[in-house]
C-alpha cells in the first residue's frame, strides 16, 4: 500500500509540476493580450509612482555632470527629421517664423517667438538622458524654464497637466507626437524648454527648435519639435487618452523608472 501511495503521489506531483509549467509558459503569451490581466500588471505603475514620490520626493534634482562627461555620440531617439511640409518651411527659415502657442486653462493665451523664449529666465544643465530602450547619453542643454513661462501665462487653478503638441508625424495617417507632464514636473527647476544643445542651436535631429527636458523621466517624455502647449485638467482628450504617443502604445505615463 505504501508503495502504491507513493507512486500515486509521484504521479500527482509530476503532473502538477508539468501542468503548472505548461500553463505558465503557454499562457504568458496569451495573457499579454488579455486586457484584464494587462490592467492588473499596469496596477504596479501606481505603486511604483507612489513609492518613488515618497522616497525620492518631487523636488529632488537630477545629477548634473561636467563638460568632460559629455557623450561624443548622442543617439537620436524618435523622429530624426519631421517630414511635415509646414515644419520643413519653418526649418528652412531657421525657425524665424515659428511661434510657440500657449493656451488651454490659462489666464493669458499667447505665443512666443524663439527670440522671446530666449529672453525668459533660462537654465543650462549637463544631464544624463535615459532612453526606455536602456541606453544613456550625457548632453548639455540650455532652455527657458517651463515654470517661468507658466508664471507669465498664469494657469487656472483647475489646470493639472501641461500638454505638448509636436510637429513630427508618427505614422502614415499623419498623427503627430504628443506628450504630457504634471504641474509638479513642469515647475521643477530642471524642467526646461531647450533651444540649445551642447552650446549650439538645437539640431533638427534632437527636436529643433524646441524640446522638453524633464531630467527625472525617460527620453520619450521629452517631446521634440514642440509647436503648441496646452494647460489642461486632464489628458483624456489627446490621442487614445493615455497622455502621450508612446503611452498609447502601452508605455507608462509615469516614466521615472
Amino acid at each position: 500500500m505504501a508503495d502504491l501511495n507513493q507512486l500515486g503521489r509521484r504521479r500527482f506531483l509530476g503532473r502538477a509540476a508539468g501542468g503548472l509549467g505548461g500553463v505558465l509558459l503557454g499562457s504568458c503569451g496569451r495573457l499579454s493580450e488579455n486586457l484584464e490581466f494587462t490592467e492588473l500588471l499596469k496596477s504596479a505603475d501606481a505603486v511604483t509612482r507612489f513609492a518613488q514620490r515618497i522616497v525620492a520626493g518631487p523636488a529632488a534634482l537630477a545629477r548634473e555632470y561636467t563638460d568632460a562627461d559629455l557623450s561624443s555620440e548622442f543617439r537620436v531617439n524618435g523622429t530624426t527629421e519631421p517630414s511635415d511640409p509646414d515644419y520643413q518651411r519653418l526649418a528652412q527659415n531657421e525657425f524665424a517664423d515659428w511661434r510657440l502657442e500657449v493656451g488651454g486653462l490659462v489666464e493669458l493665451r499667447r505665443s512666443f517667438s524663439l527670440v522671446e523664449l530666449k529672453e525668459l529666465p533660462s537654465r543650462t544643465q549637463i544631464t544624463r538622458h535615459d532612453c526606455v530602450e536602456g541606453w544613456s547619453c550625457i548632453g548639455k542643454w540650455k532652455g527657458a524654464r517651463l515654470g517661468a513661462l507658466l508664471e507669465l501665462v498664469r494657469p487656472h487653478p483647475e489646470a493639472r497637466y501641461v500638454l505638448f503638441y509636436c510637429a513630427d508625424a508618427m505614422n502614415l495617417a499623419g498623427d503627430k507626437y504628443y506628450e504630457s507632464i504634471d504641474l509638479d514636473g513642469a515647475y521643477h527647476p530642471q524642467t526646461i524648454l531647450a533651444y540649445e544643445m551642447n552650446d549650439r542651436a538645437l539640431p533638427v535631429a534632437h527636436g529643433a527648435p524646441l524640446r522638453l527636458r524633464d531630467e527625472r523621466q525617460l527620453g520619450y517624455k521629452m517631446a521634440k519639435y514642440i509647436m503648441r502647449i496646452e494647460l489642461a485638467a486632464d489628458f483624456g482628450h489627446i490621442g487614445d487618452g493615455n497622455g502621450g504617443y508612446w503611452e498609447d502604445q502601452g508605455y507608462e505615463w509615469w516614466a521615472g523608472i
Partner: protein, 231 residues
C-alpha cells in the same frame, strides 16, 4: 513508507515563498531578456559609449523572452509587476527567516561546517550526497550557496534595478554612484540575473541527482524521506 522515516523539513511559509519566488524569477528573467533585446548591448560608466560596448549581441531568441515577440512595453509591464512581487515575497521570507530562527539555525554555517568545505566539495563532485540523518540538515555548500543568493545576489540585483530609475537617481545619487554609473548598474543587473540563472541550474541539477521526488515532495508537502527510522 512508515511515517517515522519521514521528517518535516520545510515549513509552510518556506514552501510558499519558494514557489512564489520561482514564478517571480522565471517571469523576471524572461521579461528582462525582452527589455534587454530593445538595446542588446552593455556598457560601463554613466553613459553608453556606443563604439565601446562591454558586450553586444544580436538579441536573445523569442522563446526565451516574455512576451515572445519584440514588445518592450509589455515586457516592462511584466517586469515591474513581478519585481514588486519578488521584493514583497523576499521581504516576507527574510522577516520570517529571522524571526523563526530559520536563518540562524539552518543557514548560517557553523565552524565545523566550514572545516568540512573541502570534503563537501569532493563529495559533491562525485555526486555523493548526505544520506539518512545527515540529510536532515543543509550541507555547508548548500548553506553558502543559499546565503550567497539571499544576502548578495538578490539585494544586489534589486539595488542595481532601482539604480536604473532616473527618478530614484535624483533622490538618491549614491544609489547610482555605488555601481559606478547607470550603465554599470545595468551591466551588474544583467550579470546578477545570469548568476542567479547559474545558481538555479546547479540547484536543479542537485535536486535531480539527490533524489528528485523526495526533494520535490519535501518542497510541496514539507515531508522528506530520510530512508531510515529516526527516533
Amino acid at each position: 513508507m512508515t511515517d517515522n522515516r519521514c521528517i518535516y523539513r520545510h515549513r509552510l511559509w518556506v514552501r510558499i515563498t519558494h514557489w512564489t519566488n520561482m514564478i517571480c524569477m522565471t517571469v523576471l528573467l524572461m521579461s528582462g531578456l525582452q527589455i534587454f533585446n530593445a538595446h542588446p548591448a552593455l556598457y560601463w560608466g554613466d553613459a553608453s559609449r556606443f563604439d565601446d560596448p562591454l558586450l553586444a549581441i544580436a538579441a536573445f531568441p523569442a522563446w526565451a523572452t516574455l512576451p515572445g515577440s519584440q514588445w518592450l512595453a509589455m515586457g516592462r509591464r511584466w517586469h515591474f509587476f513581478f519585481a514588486w512581487l519578488f521584493v514583497a515575497n523576499g521581504a516576507a521570507y527574510a522577516l520570517l527567516g529571522v524571526l523563526s530562527g530559520h536563518f540562524r539555525r539552518d543557514l548560517v554555517p557553523s565552524l565545523s561546517d566550514l572545516r568540512q568545505i573541502g570534503q563537501s566539495v569532493r563529495h559533491h563532485l562525485r555526486l555523493r550526497f548526505p544520506q539518512g540523518r545527515d540529510a536532515r540538515r543543509y550541507n555547508v555548500l548548500q548553506k553558502l550557496a543559499y546565503l550567497g543568493v539571499l544576502c548578495v545576489l538578490c539585494p544586489l540585483i534589486v539595488l542595481a534595478g532601482l539604480a536604473m530609475s532616473p527618478q530614484l537617481d535624483a533622490g538618491y545619487p549614491w544609489l547610482v554612484w555605488i555601481f559606478g554609473g547607470r550603465q554599470s548598474a545595468r551591466t551588474i543587473h544583467f550579470v546578477c540575473a545570469f548568476s542567479l540563472l547559474a545558481f538555479v541550474a546547479v540547484h536543479l541539477l542537485m535536486v535531480l541527482v539527490s533524489g528528485v521526488w523526495n526533494n520535490i515532495r519535501s518542497m510541496v508537502t514539507g515531508w522528506y524521506d530520510v530512508g531510515e527510522e529516526h527516533g
